[in-house]
Symmetry: C2
Subunit: 165 residues, 2 copies
């Protein structure tokens, strides 16, 4: 299958997927966040081929999501850590995890639990508004085209409005 | 590249990716949520091949994320809508969008904005704990293996602990 680049789509979701949407990438970020920081550890955990993992790690470093540290004098070993941009991605994984916990059958219970250290309870994160602090749900949000794109005939919201008209 | 199935990985993130991780799928869900409900509309918006889109829509219906409605008597046209499971996925896209808004350069400003209808302001969702209501950040959370998996040598947290020991 030919992969089409999402670079040309201005949408933040499409552009985030351009960086992150690749099949293994979220699991590599998960592993590094859990403390698997060496190539061999991540490779052992995911069972991914060395070539693919090398590519993905290089891409994640290039995109500023991971950085290399504790590089051995020989240059052949290093640790991978999350940058601020990478740490900022973890809420996406937490939200994805909460969705999987709810909707994917797990006969033995959840594989991993998230503990909120502020209250020391297992937590299921949910979204609130940064303006009013109330819950954000699909029912209490609507999307609108950003000012620069409000009349762009390629914007999906402009297309959707045209389709309804 | 051979695609490995994540079915065997119990982790909710891996299992959610098994359903959602496919390159086009999040954008199809986005389009349907924005009101593009017909095959031709989604196809026109994404510029995706008809074969691939047919496959993805069938998979999303099979996985219970979309359903078909307003099916024409001829059986050749229908609308796609999000199920409850599909609506529940939108917070993942909102979180991904917020990350993209923050970290991907957008010289013309955001392509799409999210308006919180409760307070009628543009919103940037963030995560709070369902137990104590306080903010959830990478700094205030830790992951632990679920009870059934606490001693599973394949669990990444058990691997990470072994690597530190």
């Amino acid at each position: 299958m030919k992969r089409v680049s999402f670079d040309a789509m201005s949408c933040s979701i499409a552009q985030a997927l351009e960086i992150i949407g690749e099949w293994w990438t979220p699991l590599i970020i998960r592993d590094v966040s859990l403390g698997l920081r060496r190539f061999e550890q991540i490779q052992g955990d995911l069972g991914i081929s060395r070539n693919i993992l090398t590519d993905r790690l290089n891409k994640l470093v290039e995109d500023g999501i991971l950085y290399r540290t504790n590089i051995a004098a020989s240059g052949t070993r290093c640790d991978y850590r999350l940058t601020e941009k990478g740490l900022d991605f973890l809420p996406v994984l937490m939200t994805l995890m909460a969705w999987g916990d709810k909707w994917v059958e797990q006969p033995d219970g959840p594989y991993t639990e998230l503990v909120h250290t502020t209250c020391d309870h297992v937590t299921h994160p949910h979204l609130v508004c940064d303006h009013c602090g109330e819950a954000i749900t699909p029912q209490t949000t609507r999307s609108r085209a950003g000012a620069a794109f409000a009349h762009d005939p390629h914007h999906p919201l402009v297309r959707a409005a045209a389709a309804r008209a």
